[in-house]
Symmetry: C2
Subunit: 222 residues, 2 copies
Amino acid sequence: MNAESAAPARRRLSRAEAKARTRSLLLDAAARVFARKGFTGASVEEIAEAAGFSIGALYSNFGSKEALFLELLADRHTDRIAEAAQALERHPSGTGEAAAELSRLLIAVADKDTDFAPLQAEFWLYAVRNPEVLDTMAANQRAPRHALEQVISTSLTRHDAPADVSAEAVATVVAALFGGLVRQRRIDPASVPEELFGDALRWLFTGIRTGAAAPSDTDDTA
Amino acid sequence: MNAESAAPARRRLSRAEAKARTRSLLLDAAARVFARKGFTGASVEEIAEAAGFSIGALYSNFGSKEALFLELLADRHTDRIAEAAQALERHPSGTGEAAAELSRLLIAVADKDTDFAPLQAEFWLYAVRNPEVLDTMAANQRAPRHALEQVISTSLTRHDAPADVSAEAVATVVAALFGGLVRQRRIDPASVPEELFGDALRWLFTGIRTGAAAPSDTDDTA
DNA sequence: GTCTATACTTAGATAGAC
DNA sequence: GTCTATCTAAGTATAGAC
């Protein structure tokens, strides 16, 4: 029932360790409460209670409610896009199995990790309303987005895609589609069946291989 | 400076007309303030002031802040998806010009109508957190989504797309991609250049014509 | 039908006890 | 390092004047 029995093989926690643990628990609780109530709707009292601490403990670890939120925004932005990139890497052979696994990932995120999409929406809204953190958000995207871009890049070259198709553009499209479909599934699950994301990816990559974008580049001259 | 000079050829407003006008102005102001501050962050005082009225006038027209928000959610949900469908209808010939016009629409929505995406996000968050309005949101989507579906359906049959590709599925993908790219452009405009949406649509429809989704349907038997 | 003044509630943040 | 008590500000909603 006490803290010592919960720790696996560790002695009593040092002061620094205890504080770090409190911080971590507060951040976890904050992610849940912010996702469910929104940034302004969430109260520091509710966050502190959800973590099992008092308001005072929260303010002893974070300067303000906003600072707590910004720490989440900067640190815990582990985009599910990174997982998508890993899923693609696991299936270098054909696009069929990769597409199926990405479909499963989308369904899992939408249906199981119910706090994910609302928290992302809160981050996005905060960034749009507070332009000073726009860079932070863009920076957070960079790593997972780059991973996705790399996987897509090798896939494009292997399938002899037209040279004018940039992996960055495709990665942006895939990520946007992922986020859009996750949201739509929360509104109307029937409209986003399990295989839809995989089907869309197959359509997309087949179309890219066929070289559909090239003709548009010469439109200006006509 | 007074109300009479503003009205074109109309006499003094009747009581009912004046009240309807007040309601309309309050709804307009509410849309702006909710988009900029969020549902919980917006105060009825700020909404009333933005409309040029007092708090009392607001409560004389709406039962509560929530009722005002819900009226916006139900009535002013004129999705930009409907415009996308119209843009597609204007170019029945080839996909090239239609794709270009949809690209322009996306850029216009993202860059000019800066309140649109945040307000949609607020609606979505509210619906996710208050499941009793999920049906309302789904119902709001139906009309514009159906229009988009019809345009896509005729386009699919004209181009001899595989019969197992449903227009509903494609419409969902197009709408999700639209929303996702609009949001991404607000975070990092450079990552969503003007032609990206059009390129993605060309890839998508080329891939569909090629019949890329068919093989996945027989996976179960293998 | 709209405005002014106000009652009531909640939430963010701080200070001092332990 | 965390908790209890409290101060202060802000916001929803109402009641009665005009």
